[in-house]
Structure formats: structure tokens, C-alpha cells
Symmetry: C2
Subunit: 341 residues, 2 copies
């Protein structure tokens, strides 16, 4: 077993200096063809691999991107991560994953990842970031190496990639209106979340634009998770005057809502039309198949990584912060239908 080959060993085999080995590996065009080939051969023979810690120390780079998630356990992020990895991996960057809660639990701050050289850049999926965790990030010299995705920070203009939440929510509600619904409820996402607000406000807007009064009792506090769907279903079933359609802030809410309705023999879509948001993998296979607004999660991850990398390369100025809004598509399936008077 070869024991930790170092650049010295390769230099000896190739008969050149370590400087040349280094150049041949990281900037091949700068050495002669003959040398390059000799070096590559020596690398192969010895099984040499550049020691990352040494390189990182010397270059002051980590070639690592931190991906900060509000909740690693949420399957919503799986495809997003894949999109990110798709971009990062071929460019030689590694993906480090962390959870907001764990950073604050450890008494750390996001900026520490820059300060101690663990990451060169970060993609943040948490717009509800603890003030303390985000401390100093806005004024930091590395603020150009930060991109928000899905969610965003309200009082700081970091570049960000997000879905067309407002247009999507308006379209979702309009879809219900066009089917003939006038009694349309909304189940919100978690309190204080930027997506919750964007989608809720758009729900209100869509109703108002169509001269449909907004009724407080049909606006339900929620969460993006499954449980809130079930809970709201129970509340609705107890109401005297029920809505005929429901716009849910997420597919998970919608699925759990429908599930509870089904258990209690409330027919979806006939007695109650339901539309979600996200188009999670299972939406298509749910019973009934879920009508929803599709978010391109793979593309979102890819875009976020792309924009981060390009910012890191170009070292763009702070001012021109990009906001990329990803298209969103209405996918009509089985969970929506006209109201049955």
C-alpha cells in the first residue's frame, strides 16, 4: 500500500521540481507538453493526490460550498440538493450541508464558515434565519459569496433564486375561480415565512381582482407540513358555511387535507376542490392526483449554484444583486373541479 504520496515523490519520479508538478496539475498550459506528460505519468505511477488541506491553506480557498437548510429532514430539498450537486461536482466544488438550528445550537454564526475557511461560498435556504446566526453577514467582505434560494431575507438584498411565488399563487387561485368557485379558502405556510406571506398576499389579491370578498374565517394558519392539512380539514368539516375550494400553501398540506377529507367521506374534488403548491413527486400519484403549481426544484438548485459560482468568479460588486425568479407551472390533475351547487 502506497503511504501518502506527496508532491516531492512525484517530483522525484518525474525528474522535475515540485513547482513544476504543481503547475502541470493546476495550470497545465503553462508547462511544456513533454513535461506535462512526464508529470501525468509520474502521477499515475505513484497514485499521487493533492493534499487538500495543504492546497487550501496555501491558496486560502476551500473549494467547498455550504448549503444551509432550515430542515435537512424535509424531502422537499432532495431534488434541490441534486440540482446543486450537478453544478458543483463537475467544477470541483464539494457540498457541505448544515442546518440552521444546529449552527445556532453550537453557538456558531454563518460567517464563521468563511472566517475559518470551511467554505468559499454559501447557498442559504432559510429566510427566517436567526438574527444571531446571520450576524455580520450583511456587512461581511464575503457577502458576494452568498446566495439565497427558495426563501430570502427581507431587509438585505442578497442575490437570490426563487420561484414565481406571487404569480403562481395568483394563478392557482384563478384556476379555482375559473372553475366557478367563489368560496375559496387558504391554508397558509408557517407564520413569518416569506413564502407564506407572498402566497397569502397573492391569494388575497386574486380574490380582490375578481371581486370576491376575502373571508377571515377561511384563512387558516398552517405550516408547510402534513399535520396542518389534517387539522384544517377537521376545522372545515365542522363549519356551518364551508368553502368549496381550498388553495394550500404546499402539496404536503394539500395531501394531508385530502386524506382527512377522504376518511370522512368528503369527496375531493366534487365536494371540495383542492390545489397545492410545489408538485412534489407524489402529487401525481396521489389519490386523487393533485392539481398544483409546479416548482422546478432541480432547476432552482442548479440556478442557485450557477449564480453563486459566477459571482464568486467575477467578484461582482455588492450593489448589482440579482434576483432570479423561476417559472412556475399550473398542473391540472384530479383534485380540482367546478363546484357542484
Amino acid at each position: 500500500m502506497k503511504k501518502s504520496v506527496k508532491i516531492q515523490d512525484v517530483a522525484k519520479v518525474a525528474g522535475v521540481s515540485t513547482a513544476t508538478i504543481s503547475r502541470a496539475l493546476s495550470n497545465p498550459s503553462v508547462v511544456s507538453k513533454a513535461t506535462r506528460e512526464a508529470v501525468l505519468e509520474a502521477v499515475k505511477v505513484t497514485g499521487y493526490r493533492v493534499n487538500r488541506a495543504a492546497r487550501n491553506l496555501r491558496t486560502r480557498k476551500s473549494n467547498t460550498i455550504l448549503v444551509l437548510l432550515p430542515d435537512i429532514g424535509n424531502p422537499f430539498f432532495s431534488q434541490i440538493l441534486q440540482g446543486i450537486q450537478t453544478v458543483l461536482s463537475p467544477r470541483g466544488f464539494s457540498m457541505l450541508i448544515a442546518e440552521t438550528g444546529q449552527i445556532s445550537a453550537a453557538g456558531e454564526h454563518l460567517i464563521d464558515y468563511f472566517d475559518d475557511g470551511r467554505a468559499d461560498g454559501m447557498i442559504v435556504f432559510d429566510g427566517g434565519l436567526d438574527r444571531d446566526v446571520a450576524r455580520d453577514l450583511v456587512e461581511a467582505p464575503q457577502r458576494n459569496q452568498v446566495v439565497f434560494a427558495c426563501e430570502w431575507l427581507n431587509n438585505a438584498d442578497f442575490p437570490s433564486v426563487r420561484s414565481a411565488n406571487r404569480r403562481g399563487a395568483v394563478e392557482a387561485v384563478k384556476h379555482l375561480i375559473e372553475l366557478g368557485h367563489k368560496k375559496i379558502a387558504h391554508i397558509k405556510g408557517p407564520e413569518g415565512n416569506v413564502l407564506t406571506d407572498a402566497r397569502f398576499e397573492s391569494y388575497v389579491k386574486a380574490l380582490e381582482e375578481n371581486d370576491i370578498p376575502v373571508r377571515e374565517e377561511w384563512i387558516f394558519a398552517g405550516d408547510f407540513d402534513l399535520n396542518s392539512g389534517r387539522d384544517v380539514a377537521r376545522k372545515i368539516m365542522k363549519m356551518n358555511e364551508k368553502p368549496t375550494a381550498i388553495f394550500c400553501a404546499s402539496d404536503q398540506i394539500a395531501c394531508a387535507l385530502i386524506s382527512e377529507f377522504s376518511k370522512n367521506n368528503v369527496k375531493v374534488p366534487d365536494e371540495m376542490a383542492v390545489i397545492g403548491f410545489d408538485d412534489i413527486e407524489l402529487a401525481e400519484h396521489f389519490v386523487p392526483a393533485l392539481t398544483t403549481m409546479r416548482q422546478d426544484r432541480l432547476g432552482l438548485g442548479r440556478q442557485a449554484a450557477e449564480i453563486l459560482l459566477s459571482r464568486m468568479m467575477n467578484d461582482k460588486a455588492i450593489s448589482d444583486s440579482d434576483v432570479i425568479v423561476m417559472d412556475v407551472d399550473l398542473v391540472v390533475r384530479e383534485s380540482t373541479a367546478p363546484p357542484k351547487n
Copy 2:
């Protein structure tokens, strides 16, 4: 803005040597109380953070664990990752995520992560690892820093954490038998997968133990994904002699299967009982709620991380490789019932 504080700066402020700073930080008990406090104060004042690359280079450790997934986009892994992170984070380890396909696409090998110092240990979730990607891993000096999880390698006894796939599959089939079913089909996972084999063999075993003949035509090739469920549903509906119950190798298969049945008015569970495997989040909220074998994904991730870390600390011998089998629970919900007539 403080520009990259280094240990020298802290030493100056605290009025001690850099050696003492280093000790006070990584081995506090070895310095006097007074010094320790002075150092901590100086650290706070300066905002010092240990440069990871320098520390890693010096200690020849990365404090990073590679998590290798066959497919990052598969939501099945979300909670597992969370379980891993739960253990890693408080112990100061970072989690690096990679995908098997991307490693081989880059012409890399797993062992490279050790050789170039990117990782101190790894948790591998892919038992179908490319021979080339896994090359040299079995004989490597670092083989003690490798743990397999969920899946495992057949010809190498790495420590591994897995669910009780065989017992679980037997129980799942027995559940159907106890309900009175005799015509029981099986939809397999992907060809060549160790879980596929374990669950399939147990299906056969359970049938044989109960003197129920195994019928080739009711054994379907599949995949753990949604599509195979839909495809098999179509095949079954065309059969003259249909099974009355189906054991699916995954919940995703089961959901898509039921979905397709529902669309075609085949009633689950009355005309067709369906049991899955995994207990994904949505199983409970599916319509009908899915009967399944629950895998403790959070616990699995936690265990894998735990056992890896303890091996790394104790530097256990190669021979005593652990296999931890995690309990699995039958969760009876709405998708299974006795056969009608």
C-alpha cells in the same frame, strides 16, 4: 472589519505564546485556569477562529465525514441525513455529501477522499457500488473508517447498519396471509440490489412456510420508484387470474400502484390489498392510508454515524466488523384487508 485574525494576533493580545493559545483551545485542561481565561477573553476580543485548513494540514485530519448516496434526489434519504447530522454536528464533524454517479463520472474513487484528506470517514448508502469507484477500499488502511448503511457490500464485511429486511418482509407477507390471502404478488426493487434480494427471498420464504405455492407470474420486476408501481398495476389489471394482495418492495411502489388501481376503479383494499415497505412520511396520509413496514430512518442515520465515530476513535481491528440490524415495525393502516368472498 477584522481581517483574518490568526493565532499570532490572539497570542499578542493574551500575552502568551501561540502554543498556549492552541492548547487552551483544543486541550483546555492542560493550561492553568488563569491562562485559559485570558486566552478565551483574547479570542472573544479578536474574534479569532481556527483556520481549518491549517489545522487539518497539521493534524492530518479533516473532521469531515463523507456521506455517499446512490441518489441525492431521493427523498428517502432526507431523514437519514438528518439522523447523521444530529450525531456529527455536536461532535464537531462536518457532513460532505456526494453521489456515486458523480464520483465515477469524475473518474474518482472513494478512497481518494481519504488519500487527499477530504474525509476522515465515510458512510456509504450504496451496496451496488461500481467496482471501480470502490477500488482498493477493502484493502485500504482506512477500511475501519467506512460504514455501510441501509445497503451493504456482499463480498466485503464492512461494518453496517441496516433494517431487518428479511424479518420485515416475512412479517409483511405473513400479515397478508393472516388476513386470509393466498394469492400474493410481489413487486421487487431494482435488479441486483441487496435489499431487493433480501425482501424477495423473504417473500418466497414466507409463502413456502405457509405452503403457498410461489407463482412466477406474480413476481414483478421493479424499482423502488414510483413508476414501476404504475406499470405493474397496469399489468396486473390485464391478467386473467389476478392476485388478491401485493407486497411492494417500497412505499413509493405501493403508492403509485394504488394510484393506478384507483384510477381504474380497482378498490384498495377490498379488491386488492397492498402493503409497502419504508413508511415514508406520506404513507400515513395516503388514500387509503398505507399499511407498511416501518424503517426507522432517523435512527438508522444516527446509528451509522455513531458506529462510524466510535470505530474511528477506537481504531478497532478489521476483523470484528459489526452488523447492526435495526428493528422494523408493521404499521397496519387502510390499504390491507381480508380478501372479499
